[in-house]
């Protein structure tokens, strides 16, 4: 469903961001999602587990933070 599509767009951005010699393994990805986007964080987190991605992201956890009343869809950053 559309969570999957969103995760794919997110991963294509992340793949580029982790292409950086100082990053070996990403532990956590922080994503901010507005409440009005009707996202189910658990579905996003699950999709993220299963979608193909850079090896550096293999063990990363997706942390979805819901912003009350908001419309954002922002990758805040990565912990590595």
């Amino acid at each position: 469903m559309h969570e999957m599509k969103l995760i794919e767009s997110m991963v294509s951005i992340l793949n580029k961001e982790v292409d950086d010699v100082s990053i070996h393994e990403v532990k956590e990805v922080h994503l901010e999602v507005g409440e009005l986007r009707y996202i189910v964080p658990e579905i996003m987190e699950n999709c993220f587990k299963h979608v193909p991605k850079s090896i550096k992201l293999k063990n990363a956890k997706l942390k979805v933070m819901v912003v009350p009343g908001g419309k954002e869809f922002t990758i805040k950053g990565i912990e590595y």
């Binding site: 469903m1 951005i13 954002e72």
Partner: protein, 223 residues
């Protein structure tokens, strides 16, 4: 442990494509509307009714119709000789900007006044994806209950107009028109509301007037 700040909108690729579509349609002065409703609210029926009338008005348009797998809607419109391009979205529950760009590449844009997109039937996902349209149009129907504006506020906030279809069924369904219109205005105080019925034809003329007005405004815009 280190942290790298990214601050990037995950829809940025879609939004970039949408901006490209928007600026090319701006240059050609083509008005594009993105019609969103739940399945069965009457999007195709409206196009079947309004299409021939738009033709009669001398408006040159094309319809892009989205469906996960079939081309049923496109066939319905093709039967009326309406210009239509089918967009199959597969498992995706919405049309995104890339699909619109691909569909438009099959269309002669020069000389066109209007592009109508019939999005995939769904009140949630299509509202998320900018496809380069000028306006989103929310289509509700009396058969689906009067509480939808409150349940799907993003779509209502983003829409310029709300069409309330199937007014011919009002006497058979528990649909509180005043409640629906009030909550539409609460969620989006500027929204224009048009009551209509694709069965009786009530209100279709108001929709046509709205479209004509929008096309006119677009033509007058400076590029």
């Amino acid at each position: 442990m280190a942290f790298k700040v990214i601050k990037e909108n995950i829809l940025k690729d879609n939004d970039k494509t949408a901006s490209k579509i928007r600026s090319s349609l701006k240059e050609k002065k083509v008005f594009m509307m993105n019609m969103i409703s739940s399945p069965g609210a009457g999007k195709t029926s409206l196009l079947e009714k309004a299409g021939p009338l738009l033709k009669k008005e001398g408006i040159s348009f094309t319809i892009l119709t989205g469906d996960c797998f079939t081309s049923r809607d496109a066939e319905r419109m093709d039967a009326l000789s309406l210009p239509v391009v089918q967009i199959n979205t597969g498992n995706a529950c919405h049309i995104d900007a890339g699909l619109v760009r691909a569909a438009l590449s099959n269309v002669e844009i020069d000389g066109l006044d209007l592009v109508i997109v019939e999005n995939v039937g769904n009140l949630v996902c299509p509202a998320e994806f900018d496809i380069g349209e000028d306006e989103k149009v929310a289509l509700l129907s009396t058969a689906e209950g009067h509480d939808k504006p409150e349940k799907y506020p993003l779509l209502i906030q983003e829409s310029e107009v709300a069409l309330i279809n199937k007014t011919d069924l009002l006497e058979h369904v528990d649909f509180d028109m005043r409640y629906a219109e009030k909550s539409l205005c609460t969620v989006n105080p500027g929204i224009k509301i048009i009551r209509m019925s694709c069965k009786t034809g009530e209100g279709i003329d108001n929709f046509i007037e709205w479209v004509k007005d929008k096309i006119k405004t677009k033509k007058e815009q400076k590029v």
